[in-house]
Symmetry: C2
Subunit: 382 residues, 2 copies
């Protein structure tokens, strides 16, 4: 714990990693291109610079003993060079490289027999058009950019052969759409000595009208055998990658009761934010335990929890104002977290709210009240 | 929550206040005489300076909107001047003044009929000698310095009239020793609008051989009527002071089953550290809620907890080394907290460990193992 740690990225995940690291006096340097990044005042040393530039990442890594990430879009060549020079880089650069490219990620799932939606790797738009003409039962499908997609960007729905002109011009994956019943997620941690620990399975509850994640619910409301499938698949995936650190595994539960792997992220994840308040060990503490090769913590929950993302209100851009905060703070078991972002934009992740309650129904009700109570707006409307 | 907040003191209590404040992006300045204070890297702005010097405190207060403390030995005249100029100072300077001097504190308890051990205010050593000669049934007693006592310093036991020459030469309180069964504590929060909320009663378990607080146990193992006495007395005390902020109320349970007030502290307290992991709202978040006039949080516990102070090992002075940390991290429900102090000294508070377990017996067992596992030492022995 006397090592100097570097985090590539200084956003909200870095912020919550630093907050957890205070318990153990961790000395943490951050690199982020945004001079106003969430972490700027809280890390021991803050460097403004590109995460994708070889020299910048290499230089930053020279000043630390252990390197980790809070975002996977980073310069892996630099991380590999640092690793060769003896720096401890977790997750390993080789794992980041596999996950960075959705094409490699999907091929990896197939190679290791990790059940996943059927797919074809595509080179360009013409290739997509040819595939959908030849294999119409792959439709409806999603065309996903191999690299640089993020939070819904880089994904196009291809419902009919005519939609092929909406496909990306760059290398991608054409993936059969899963007719799913639920979207689940399991966060796994693995340390250097190979100890593996999973968090309880969570469920993303979708808005009945809009096709948007409305809130997260932990534990997932699923049959025990489905839970076992999800937990085992997540663990197998982490072991297949041999990752050291956290792996967030997003899953589909299809209408036939099968659990399929959707995609993975080699870092703390939005689907684990509730663990700060709801679990004996948070995902952020668990990440430190994993990458510092310490024994992994007990992930059991104190009780059921919900998590609601706090997104910038549509039509509002500018200095952020949190409306309705008092109502929310007056509700027992409701904890808001803000990410220190001065400016709001429509749909920007500005914070999250954790809700605890003894009963599942109480939790759903409270989550509805919370969602109706708070808005992130700006006095300057866009 | 957009206010700039100043904390007088930058030790471990300030550190844990800052850590809790990250959830809400609080902007926090710290003043501490020690350039190596725990908070130095984590507060938004750190100032090195005396907490007892009028000009230093006044100047520091000019740069903030809300002022609070993590130690009560501060320049109250400066705080009063700042309050007159419209700064929000919580706890109120008038309350800090009453609590700073144990003589005023004890007189306050008597004035408000808050049950407390019998006592006499004393001027000097000769006065103490005269009192014990005249009132032998006050013995055994403790002579406490009115001002500047801290963590056991400034207290002398007076068992017989001959011990009077051990009394302090300065104004103090001669207080009849309570033949107590248990030492209890209740942390109370009160906000500006007069809302009051208590944390569950905790118990300090003493070492069977040494006369030292061995660990804290929450909730206290006491009869329901004793608990009600403790909770009510703590609440009445906070209301009598009219404090805005946290008030830690230390109590004796005497052999006859009466709860007596021992002393109070107007700030987060060692007896509330377990609340970070064990309760729905921690004492640190509750302090922010109270002084920012927000609704107070739910203080209920997830389950029983113990807290063990991590003190510097006798005979060890120098750069701190934590022995046995791995054993401890491998135990489920055991969470160490370190205070970022580079140097250890015999008896210095270096951190604490929170232990959670479903059962009270499991908790006691784990606490024993924890105590036996970890030591704060230095390679340079004193």
């Amino acid at each position: 714990m006397n090592d100097v740690i570097g985090i590539l990225g200084g956003g909200q995940l870095g912020l919550m990693l630093i907050q957890a690291g205070i318990d153990w006096n961790l000395v943490i340097h951050c690199l982020d291109p945004d001079p106003q990044a969430s972490c700027k005042d809280l890390c021991t040393q803050f460097t403004v610079g590109s995460l994708t530039d070889y020299d910048t990442v290499y230089q930053f890594g020279q000043g630390v003993d252990v390197l980790t990430i809070e975002i996977e879009k980073v310069n892996v060549d630099a991380l590999e060079a640092l690793e060769r020079e003896g720096k401890r880089v977790y997750p390993q650069p080789s794992v980041i490289r596999q996950i960075q490219d959705k094409r490699v990620q999907k091929a990896f799932f197939r190679q290791y027999n990790l059940p996943t939606a059927d797919f074809v790797l595509t080179d360009d738009r013409a290739h997509v058009a040819r595939i959908v003409a030849e294999q119409p039962d792959l439709l409806p499908a999603f065309h996903k950019l191999g690299r640089d997609g993020y939070d819904g960007r880089g994904v196009q729905r291809i419902a009919t052969p005519a939609d092929a002109d909406k496909a990306f011009g760059a290398p991608g994956v054409l993936e059969k759409a899963v007719d799913f019943d639920k979207e689940l997620a399991v966060i796994v941690a693995r340390n250097e000595r190979g100890e593996v620990q999973t968090f309880p399975t969570v469920e993303m509850v979708f808005h009945p009208d809009l096709n948007l994640v409305d809130y997260l619910f932990a534990p997932a409301d699923i049959a025990p055998d489905v839970n076992e499938q999800a937990q085992k698949l997540a663990r197998r995936t982490a072991e297949a990658f041999g990752i050291v650190g956290l792996l967030a595994v997003e899953l589909f539960l299809d209408k036939a009761g099968n659990v399929l792997i959707n995609e993975v992220a080699p870092r703390p994840h939005n689907s684990g934010h509730h663990t700060i308040r709801a679990n004996r060990t948070s995902q952020f503490e668990q990440h430190w335990r994993a990458i510092l090769n310490l024994p992994l913590g007990n992930t059991s929950a104190h009780g059921p929890a919900a998590m609601i993302n706090l997104l910038g209100e549509p039509g509002h851009t500018g200095p952020a104002v949190y409306e309705g905060l008092e109502t929310l703070l007056a509700m027992p078991g409701v904890s808001p977290f803000f990410y220190g972002k001065a400016q709001t934009r429509p749909g920007r992740k500005m914070g999250h709210i954790t809700v605890l309650d003894e009963s599942l129904d109480g939790l759903r009700e409270k989550a509805e009240v919370v969602k109706a109570s708070i808005r992130v707006v700006s006095n300057l409307t866009a």
